[in-house]
């Protein structure tokens, strides 16, 4: 890197310090102003903890059948047991990891695909823009859940394909945000400086524009996490992806669906409630993050 660029970098670093400090203060302000965000963050930690330690902290083996079948919630089985006597509490906790992994990997995937395509299309314009725009228009022409069903049906009924389908249906959202943000910065001073210092377009995209739009993209990630979990659980509810003995929230609700009309509510309720809490948590977190990053859009 030559001299002028390093000077600009230093200047940016000097400027960045107080701004990161004020960011922290702003974060504290937002949390104190809106305790719901703090609550959502606590919930997120709990979910992350369950996903990390789940299999080690549960009282029963999530796959082992027990003697007490269809037992209502009790002290021994907090959430009751299902048709084959498996402990629902253990299953709900262990399932966290799978649901979390599905959601995170699909969001990471779409962040890479959609984010890069969006930045490129906003930065280069022209043909790149037209092709990327056409692809996202075509995806948006389908009702999204229906398209996900079609993709999983065509590619094969596996968890990997659920991740892929969830990523694909979120693609247009990421493209739109990344494209708009990159387009605004196309002729920004720091981009021109980077270009003058001899950086290639590719390098400018990855090293200069991408870090600048990261905050907005983080909000997008958090907002789509909830949707990704819902989508994956919906697919496994109709019998796609995850296979029955595996604990997963969507499929557990499906297993308990038949028992609802005979009054055994706990089989479907607890996994469904876990699902709801997780989605709720990510939606609140997304709203909170948006307040933090983009105070103008507060509603």
């Amino acid at each position: 890197m030559n001299e002028s660029a390093s000077i600009i970098h230093q200047a940016a670093e000097v400027k960045a310090k107080p701004s990161s400090n004020s960011m922290l203060r702003h974060a504290r302000y937002v949390v104190s102003e809106n305790p719901v965000t703090g609550f959502a963050f606590a919930l997120f930690l709990l979910i992350a903890l369950c996903a990390l330690l789940g299999p080690h902290i549960v009282p029963y083996d999530p796959l082992a059948s027990g003697a007490a079948t269809l037992a209502p919630p009790s002290r021994a089985h907090w959430f009751g047991t299902d048709q084959t006597g498996r402990d629902i509490f253990s299953r709900v906790v262990v399932a966290t990891r799978l649901d979390f992994v599905i959601a995170v990997s699909s969001v990471v995937l779409v962040f890479i695909m959609g984010g890069l395509a969006g930045i490129a299309s906003g930065f280069f314009g022209g043909w790149t823009d037209r092709i990327v725009g056409r692809i996202s228009d075509t995806i948006m022409a389908f009702p999204l859940f229906v398209l996900a069903m079609g993709i999983v049906a065509a590619l094969g009924n596996t968890v990997t394909n659920i991740v892929l389908a969830t990523a694909i249906i979120n693609f247009p959202l990421y493209v739109r945000v990344a494209r708009a943000e990159a387009n605004v910065r196309r002729e920004a001073g720091f981009v021109q400086a980077a270009r003058l210092s001899g950086n290639s377009d590719f390098r400018i995209l990855l090293m200069h524009i991408l870090p600048n739009i990261m905050p907005i993209m983080m909000v997008q990630i958090s907002l789509t996490m909830g949707y990704a979990i819902l989508n994956a659980a919906g697919l496994s509810f109709i019998g796609l992806g995850v296979r029955p003995p595996t604990p997963e929230w969507g499929i557990m609700v499906a297993e308990g669906a038949g028992n609802i009309i005979s009054g055994e509510w706990w089989i479907a309720l607890f996994p469904g409630a876990a699902l709801m809490l997780a989605v709720f948590c990510f939606n609140l977190l997304g709203d909170g993050l948006r307040d933090l990053v983009d105070p103008q859009r507060r509603t």
Partner: protein, 337 residues
């Protein structure tokens, strides 16, 4: 107005081409070889080759695509493997059930979300505003199949108010004479009150399930756009001219605030059509969604692809209708178009 409509219709063409290409690709990337799959488990290499030839799979891809488009133009979506019936007739006979459910869900969610959003904007910061926010966030967070089961448990098992979730009519009521396939409409027209009551009772819970799921974006958008409009100059002028609050809110503000709400309807339909599949499964509703799910589980792909295509075309048509409606409500769009 007609010219605008014509222009809008032209923009639909590339979208439809995209949709057809995607559904074609979905048929061609079936896991494994479609010919092996159609030949069944007792296939010999010879029979597989024959089937590949008869399906046209030995031809180059562009030719296969032309053939696929030709089939579509003749309304041929292939046959279901498990029932042997053409997919098109099956989808045709089941579409009214799904459409009736979707529209009932949409009407319910509009009926709840619009007043909620307007009240939340007019009384910003009041308890009704907070209710609106909680309902909106909870609405999108609730998995639609879970809401459905919860409603069944409360209203069928606990309270006994709703009938069992077993489709559009219970076993003792016969379907009304077929006119449109919408049971509520048909039974009203033919004066068949028993069928109307039965169909209405069966429809309430699934429609509510869909409504709860889709009301969030509508309520949010109504609130936000009402807030923006209420803060604008023409509303201030209207108030300053001494018009009473009702006239200002409903005649002046509401009509202008509706425009962004109508735009979000496109997204709401995407939600509704997708959620429809799940709700149909929970309530054993005999619509196209449950048809696709059954076929999916039996690895019967022709119905699934037909379903995806039908839903996409329906969705494109709905978006077109929304745009036209937009032009009707907002004269400015007409002038500019």
């Amino acid at each position: 107005m007609l010219a605008t409509l014509g222009k809008r219709l032209v923009t639909v063409i590339p979208t439809l081409i995209g949709v057809v290409i995607v559904t074609f690709l979905l048929t061609r990337v079936l896991p494994g070889d479609p010919a092996v799959y159609f030949a069944g488990p007792a296939a010999t290499p010879q029979s597989i080759a024959d089937i590949r030839k008869s399906l046209g799979l030995d031809r180059p891809l562009p030719e296969q695509f032309a053939r696929y488009v030709g089939d579509l133009a003749r309304g041929n979506l292939g046959n279901s493997l498990s029932t042997g019936r053409p997919v098109v007739t099956e989808i045709e006979s089941r579409l009214p059930a799904s459409a009736e459910l979707t529209f009932a869900g949409l009407i319910l969610s509009l009926a709840i979300a619009l007043p909620l959003g307007i009240l939340a904007a007019v009384k910003q910061g009041s308890w009704i505003d907070h209710t609106c926010r909680v309902v909106a966030t909870a609405g999108v967070s609730l998995p639609v199949f879970f809401t459905g089961l919860l409603l069944v448990y409360i209203f069928y098992y606990q309270l006994g108010w709703a009938p069992a979730p077993i489709g559009r009519l219970d076993a003792f009521t016969s379907a009304p004479t077929q006119i449109t396939g919408f049971y509520l409409f048909d039974s009203l027209v033919t004066g068949n009150w028993e069928a109307f009551r039965g169909a209405f009772g069966q429809l309430i819970l699934p429609a509510f399930t869909l409504g709860i799921f889709s009301l969030a974006p509508i309520a949010r958008m109504t609130r936000a756009s009402m807030l923006a409009v209420l803060a604008s100059d023409f509303v201030r002028t209207a108030r300053a001219s001494g018009l009473d609050g009702k006239t200002v809110i409903f005649t002046y503000a509401f009509r202008n605030a509706m425009l962004p709400v109508i735009t979000t309807l496109g997204m709401v339909f995407s939600f509704l059509l997708g959620a429809n599949v799940l709700v149909e499964k929970v309530f054993a509703w005999p619509g196209i969604g449950s048809y696709a799910v059954e076929a999916l589980l039996q690895s019967d792909f022709a119905p699934v692809q037909g379903f995806v295509l039908a839903m996409a075309i329906l969705y494109v048509a709905l978006n077109l209708a929304i745009d036209v409606l937009y032009g009707v409500i907002d004269p400015r769009v007409r002038l500019e178009g």
